[in-house]
Amino acid sequence: MMDDFYRENILDHYKNPRNHGHLDHPTATAEGVNPLCGDELAVELEVDDGVVTDIRYNGRGCAISQAAASMLSDVVKGKRVEDLAGIGKEDVLEELGIPLTPIRLKCAMLSVGVLKVALSELTGDPLPDEWSDPSSGIEWKSA
């Protein structure tokens, strides 16, 4: 199992991240920090008529946190905001396609976490408990 931890597609997303950088006029933004390992990730969404027309991630951290963000950005782009309400851990794990220990799970979940914070800012819906729980060890900040 460990030998294909850094599968080609994970390394590809890490080295050539999709939708990386900043938007000129983001509709919603959020950022998160995992103080345990220093991973930092911010997301910027451009929403037009209820559709995520563009997305950018930026930050720094391990291959898992950065690759997960890149993969998720492809999933999110073009989707309706209401269709993203159910997006969660499983979607990231499915994209990564590898089993993760609890420590590395936090790395992977940084990307979906900041997305949830940005979406909750956008819709006004409260952040689900799963993501607002301080025991997640991750600090979120919305713009």
């Binding site: 931890f5 850094y6 390992c37 391990c62 291959a63 590395r104």
Partner: protein, 415 residues
């Protein structure tokens, strides 16, 4: 790469045979355990002691009129004598069993600090401290109104003598504290010099010995410190530790935790305290663990602390050279020989979590992160490093495996 020299006074093969876990493969590969600074593995002698206590000698201590209670007490107090000898304490009364160094340091911060450190007083610590020897003093300063000052580090991770100089006019210094050995960089601090500096000012010196006591002979009288805390789990023992303190200081301190065991008489209104060291051992202690800590200390003494230190110094020098020869590896901390058995490094810009993950796939266990020293990391503009720490059961084969593992990291991430 130049040919590295390595000689050791230890019989590595015999020592490894003592550690059952080292015989078990990880991911189908030989376990290369390079994380003893976080917690060490346990020899058969210690594991057997724990089993033996529960199979032959277990009961609560200091209470039983019956035979088993007397045997358990004798073994528990016997472990205290062993630890007193291990630290060259003046008296067994100076040896307090705690859970680990963290608890020992907190005991000092609460019982000594909240009695003898007042508003306007000064506490001096170092910026290389583990959070366990930083946060208790921050909290003490916040609660008492004392000021907290930090000794800085040089770029190669030593205590900066100039920062000591800068604090030379500081008044009302009541407590100085430092790690004997840095858990992140392997820096070895000059404890007798810090003790002189503290005592010149009428202050006490508290030493976090978590990274030193397992690896070198510690003589608290020669070090001339006032408190010394160690963790048993880092020295081949289980979850029990020791706080050593000068008897006159422990005597002058109020209790830390209160309850059973630490009392002499209890009336509804007031209580009188037990004698040292039991005054600081509230409640039923970790009986089997403390006894097994004694067994761990005897195991290390049997091999020889000087020999263990010499082995680790030779090994870390070998390791430093090997890593120095790998393109893309940056090392942090002092150059050997002024360095205990800890290597701290980064591989290019690969995150240490990724380094550790790739190494794990090769059966190599290292620590990746800030090592509970966030201020130290910030000092060097880092968020994390990969740390490989050695102990008496590590050899050059482990370092060579690490070097090969790093090559795989470089390959995986295209460095």
């Amino acid at each position: 790469m130049a040919v590295k020299e390595f000689t050791t006074p230890l019989d590595l093969e015999a020592i490894r045979a003592d550690f059952p876990i080292l015989q078990r493969p990880v991911h189908g590969k030989r376990l290369v355990f390079l994380d003893s600074a976080a917690s060490s593995q346990k020899p058969r002698q210690v594991i057997d002691t724990i089993v033996d206590v529960y199979e032959t000698s277990y009961a609560n201590v200091h209470r039983g009129v019956y035979h088993l209670g007397a045997v358990a007490t004798e073994r528990y107090e016997g472990a205290r004598d062993i630890m007193a000898g291990f630290l060259n304490a003046n008296s067994r009364n100076e040896v307090v069993f705690v859970r680990q160094a963290t608890e020992g340091l907190n005991l000092v911060a609460y019982a000594y600090g909240r009695t003898f450190v007042k508003e306007g007083d000064a506490i001096v610590a170092t910026e290389m401290e583990h959070h366990s020897n930083m946060v208790p003093w921050q909290y003490l300063a916040q609660q008492t109104g004392a000021t907290l000052h930090y000794l800085r580090m040089t770029d190669d991770g030593r205590l900066d003598p100039e920062s000591l100089e800068r604090l030379s006019d500081l008044e009302n210094v009541k407590l100085v504290t430092a790690a004997h050995v840095s858990n992140s960089l392997g820096t070895i601090n000059d404890i007798p010099a810090l003790a002189r500096w503290a005592h010149d000012r009428g202050a006490v010196l508290v030493v976090d010995g978590a990274q030193a006591a397992p690896h070198r002979r510690v003589d608290v009288q020669a070090l001339d410190c006032d408190f010394y805390a160690l963790s048993g789990h880092k020295m081949c023992g289980p979850g029990a530790g020791v706080l050593w303190g000068r008897e006159r200081l422990l005597d002058a301190m109020p209790p830390f935790l209160t309850g059973g065991e630490m009392i002499r008489t209890v009336q509804l209104e007031r209580t009188t305290w037990n004698d040292l060291p039991w005054k600081f051992e509230a409640g039923t202690p970790a009986i089997a663990e403390s006894i097994a800590l004694g067994a761990a200390a005897q195991y290390l003494q049997g091999i020889g602390l000087e020999a263990i230190e010499a082995h680790e110094h030779a090994l870390v020098a070998y390791g430093y050279d090997v890593l120095d020869g790998i393109d893309g590896v940056t090392q942090y901390g002092p150059k050997p020989p002024d360095r205990a058995g800890i290597l701290s490094f980064n591989v290019g810009d690969v995150h240490p979590h990724d380094v550790a993950q790739v190494l794990d796939s090769e059966g190599i266990a290292v620590r990746a992160g800030h090592h509970c020293t966030q201020p130290l990391m910030r000092r060097f503009d880092l968020t994390a490093t990969t740390r490989a720490s050695v102990y008496l059961y590590n050899g050059t084969d482990d370092i060579d495996a690490l070097a090969e593992g790093i090559e795989k990291v470089k390959q995986t991430f295209g460095i």
